[in-house]
């Protein structure tokens, strides 16, 4: 295990531990307003001060982390599964299934990532369900590309050839022989994809298309804090720093994993 990987895992563990223990670490309810103490600076009662509605920023930060981490990790699952499955099919069967999958892929990658995600969320209506659908619709392509490339190499190897010569059914060759051996690259990519996905969730939140207020979410907090950037920057920068630290932890894990696998 590389040092980068270890450091990233440790950092992520700290973040995950903190957001998991949010009720213990925060003295206030993240939704509790105190209109007499809006935009207050740090104090003993409010370590990071309060926002424009007098809510405790520290508490909101921790609870928002729950939403962002949970959605980020969960939203990678469907693209991973669907994309890898399509990559396996395209690479193994070749021919028209390959051509069809790759042509659809060409079309999806023609759209800038955020533009397509934003457009789909717009069409479906803001909210967490739409985020999942949009990220799945756009995110599968990377997994398909990676896995397909690996399959094209692996299917020429003796163990796959032997399985074919033995008349093993295609699904068995795909699941038992190819999948376990070609998915490691996809898993590594998934780590960096989680970063991109969390950033996308935060960005959608910032644009008002993600988790809907008053539920706390880092992007939405940054949007709410934007007007106060000059007089009370903590509103926008506190969640920003949280995003950056989380992103750094996940990037370090992805980098460390890649280095460990010699990629």
């Amino acid at each position: 295990m590389t040092r980068t990987l270890a450091a990233g895992l440790a950092l992520l563990a700290v973040i995950a531990g903190m957001v998991a223990c949010a009720p213990l670490l925060a003295a206030h309810n993240p939704g509790q307003q105190d209109l007499l103490h809006v935009l207050a600076g740090p104090s003993a009662a409010h370590p990071l001060g309060t926002d424009d509605l007098g809510r405790d920023i520290w508490a909101r930060l921790l609870y928002a982390g729950r939403a962002d981490l949970a959605i980020g990790f969960a939203a990678v699952a469907a693209p991973f599964v669907i994309g890898s499955a399509l990559g396996l099919l395209a690479g193994y069967f070749g021919g028209w299934p390959d051509a069809a999958i790759m042509r659809v892929l060409d079309i999806v990658v023609a759209f800038p990532f955020y533009v397509l995600v934003i457009a789909v969320v717009f069409a479906l209506g803001a909210g967490v369900g739409s985020i999942f659908i949009a990220i799945t619709a756009v995110g599968w392509v990377s997994y398909t590309r990676i896995v397909r490339g690996e399959v094209l190499v692996a299917k020429r190897l003796g163990y796959v050839q032997a399985a074919r010569a033995a008349g093993l059914p295609a699904w068995r060759i795909l699941l038992r022989h190819l999948a376990p051996n070609v998915l490691s690259q996809a898993v590594v990519y998934a780590m960096s994809d989680i970063v991109l996905t969390i950033l996308a969730v935060v960005t959608l939140g910032y644009l008002g298309l993600g988790v809907q207020p008053p539920a706390p979410e880092w992007g939405a907090m940054m949007q709410a804090g934007e007007p106060y950037l000059s007089i009370h920057p903590a509103l926008a920068t506190a969640p920003g720093v949280a995003v950056v630290v989380t992103g750094l932890a996940l990037s370090m894990i992805g980098d460390g994993l890649a280095a460990g696998l010699g990629i």
């Binding site: 190897l157 003796g158 163990y159 050839q161 032997a162 399985a163 074919r164 010569a165 033995a166 008349g167 093993l168 059914p169 068995r172 038992r176 022989h177 376990p180 051996n181």
Partner: protein, 262 residues
């Protein structure tokens, strides 16, 4: 096991006018109208220089490559798309033992999978049979439950041979099974193949570019050149009086190899 007494003189495998063409620009005709017969229990050597189409022919026989022409197994056509039962008639051992085993499966699992999918044994006897086959292939029983990464090249090739034998094929195609192995192990693996052929009555198609290997293991040999069989004969005859100029050149390249004694 199989009935190996009947029809032992008949052709177990007969291919007629087999051609393999790879698509591309321009298309490569790797095998051009090859006809061969393989009798039950016979060992046929297939020799020829690199790129002459030996592996392509082998892959077509194993149903891994679409081919024109006919493959007859025990008098019945064996198509490119095979039923599970048809598929197990021809099994292959590949050149590179480092790529021929699934890295995630132990030796026993690799062999047992074949038995299970083909329902060759009742469920509760599969593991025992797999160990028996590995033993037959000379794999030390201590390593039967290890994954390929922990096995030597020779040991891996033994697992690959056991995997092929598990399906009780009529024909075993070994595509340069020793080329990637340490010299000290090559002879042992060849002996194993020769031994299995005798005891199991397997027909063996042994592909090599080494005439010494052919003379040690095979009854007959076919010489391939640019996708065609240019000569085939019993091994002693071929070595003593090669007819085709290409065979003569091939022989001249191995000066130490005289006609075998006796």
């Amino acid at each position: 096991m199989r009935d190996t007494t009947a029809r032992s003189a008949e052709a177990v495998l007969e291919i007629r006018d087999l051609s393999v063409t790879y698509g591309g620009r321009p298309p490569v005709r790797a095998v051009r109208g090859v006809s061969l017969r393989l009798a039950r229990g016979e060992a046929l050597g297939l020799v020829g220089e690199s790129g002459c189409g030996k592996s392509s022919l082998a892959r077509a026989l194993a149903g891994l490559e679409p081919a024109e022409g006919q493959v007859m197994m025990n008098g019945r056509p064996l198509p490119h798309r095979r039923t599970r039962e048809q598929a197990r008639r021809v099994q292959m051992v590949f050149q590179d033992p480092y790529a021929s085993l699934n890295p995630r499966m132990t030796a026993v699992q690799t062999v047992a999978e074949m038995l299970r999918v083909h329902r060759l044994r009742p469920k509760d006897q599969i593991a025992e049979r797999a160990r028996e086959l590995l033993d037959l292939a000379g794999l030390p029983s201590q390593v039967a439950d290890t994954r390929p990464a922990a096995l030597s090249g020779g040991q891996r090739q033994r697992v690959a041979i056991a995997r092929a034998l598990a399906l009780e094929p009529d024909v075993l195609v070994a595509d340069e099974p020793t080329t990637a192995l340490d010299v000290s192990v090559q002879a042992v693996i060849l002996e194993l193949l020769a031994h299995l052929r005798e005891t199991l009555g397997l027909a063996l198609l042994l592909i090599t570019h080494n005439l010494a290997v052919v003379s040690a293991v095979c009854d007959r040999a076919a010489v391939m050149h640019s996708g065609e069989i240019v000569e085939q004969a019993a091994v002693p005859a071929l070595l003593a009086s090669p007819q085709h100029p290409y065979t003569r050149r091939l022989l001249a390249a191995v000066p130490r190899l005289g006609p075998p004694p006796g």
